[in-house]
Symmetry: C2
């Protein structure tokens, strides 16, 4: 392993990126012990604290496990980090190796009622954009999606290609808005006749109803989404991690 001064990344990130790559690529197997912090420091001629910062990142991500008094090892059950956060439908399908697209059913501005305004953190009467789409995966109907956005935050968002682009990528590219946190609930429901016919399945089929409130880094609500996933076509995948009660220096 080497560190380069001309690299724009900070040293500790160069190290963590290298280690991450070695783990992902399988060069470092699960359970393998990595060299000690002092060894890295001496080898690379950098401070031990810098090495620790690098290793901290990977411990954080669940890739490494520290054992005081003993060596640091590569975690065995590695969590797929992409499944840890939350994804837009487009991203979700991409991850499953499918192509996402949409049939636009509705897209208009309207005035927020009390409940919606509360959800989005707006004043009653503020304008919102409502987007309703059938979401397709490789051309097959997979879900019904109902999105509400604050109109002021995303002016003229209707003009973009809502049939093929990820909503999050549009937000990020054109409005400088990055989704950061979400509160989500999931329940099982039976499809109504209208929903079932839109998805091309039998009425009363079981389905997942997911509601999501998404916020950006400042804590502002950027969308309220209600998605109905076809029960026999969609399975939601999670990778979760308990925070250790015995936290470390972080």
């Amino acid at each position: 392993m080497k560190v380069h001064v001309q690299d724009s990344r900070p040293i500790f990130r160069q190290i963590s990126d290298t280690l991450r790559e070695q783990i992902r690529s399988g060069a470092l197997r699960g359970g393998a012990t990595i060299p000690s912090e002092r060894e890295y420091a001496g080898q690379l001629r950098i401070s031990r604290m810098t090495v620790r910062a690098a290793i901290n990142e990977l411990v954080q991500e669940g890739l490494l496990v520290r054992r005081p008094g003993s060596a640091t090892t590569v975690a065995v059950g590695v969590i797929d980090k992409s499944a840890e956060g939350f994804l837009s439908f487009t991203e979700d399908m991409q991850m499953r190796g499918m192509r996402a697209s949409s049939q636009l059913i509705e897209c208009h501005e309207e005035v927020a009622d009390a409940a919606t305004a509360a959800e989005l953190g707006l004043r009653v009467g503020a304008r919102i954009v409502v987007i309703e789409r059938v979401r397709l995966a490789d051309g097959e109907p997979m879900a019904l999606e109902h999105v509400q956005l604050p109109a002021q935050r995303f002016p003229n968002i209707q003009q973009h290609d809502l049939a093929h682009l990820s909503l999050y990528s549009i937000m990020e590219a054109h409005y400088g808005c990055t989704p950061r946190t979400s509160d989500e609930t999931i329940e099982a429901v039976s499809l109504s006749f209208a929903e079932a016919s839109a998805l091309g399945v039998a009425p009363d089929s079981p389905a997942l109803l997911a509601r999501r409130i998404t916020r950006d880094a400042r804590g502002l609500v950027i969308e309220a989404v209600k998605t109905i996933y076809c029960g026999d076509r969609y399975r939601m995948v999670f990778a979760r991690r308990r925070s250790e009660s015995n936290r470390s220096e972080s």
Copy 2:
């Protein structure tokens, strides 16, 4: 704020705990700016790096937001951390203010078939413990739970009070085993006649089927759980966070 030498916690944890409490209690509102790192350091007569370690924890948890060149502020949309990890059924119900209990349907040892052995990371033929329970919340049937454990890791676990205790608390107290990561899938299904009658609802009712593989800190599988949640009684709650592409020193 004060730090105490006689406190067994490390200094940086004393600080982060205090700050966490101030945020949770509302003494520090969302959006409020906290004193600078150098100010804390001077005030408490400790090193700035120690202050950083404390603040890092809270940034990590999404409670604080750093803004280089400017102040660190309390995050606005605060994620409920208890909903971020994964919970045992008992913990889940506790969080909702309900009392969890169980009706034990099955509890026996058996030999793992190929599929189960693979799930639990055991050799085919290894012994496993199977626990089947109806999970009740405040006395009402809420879910059907099917748990498989490696028998070797949890000898005589059948002896414990599986009707009232959290499985995780038993694991932790008697086997020194802490759940750390989980891979989970959730789908919508219709209840079979048997399942419906066990839960006391109509057949073909919609339900959530959750499958979970749980691992400890070493990456060893400690349980494989299949839970069927009654659709009209249970709603799954998540708080999720996207990792920022622009990571910090951590």
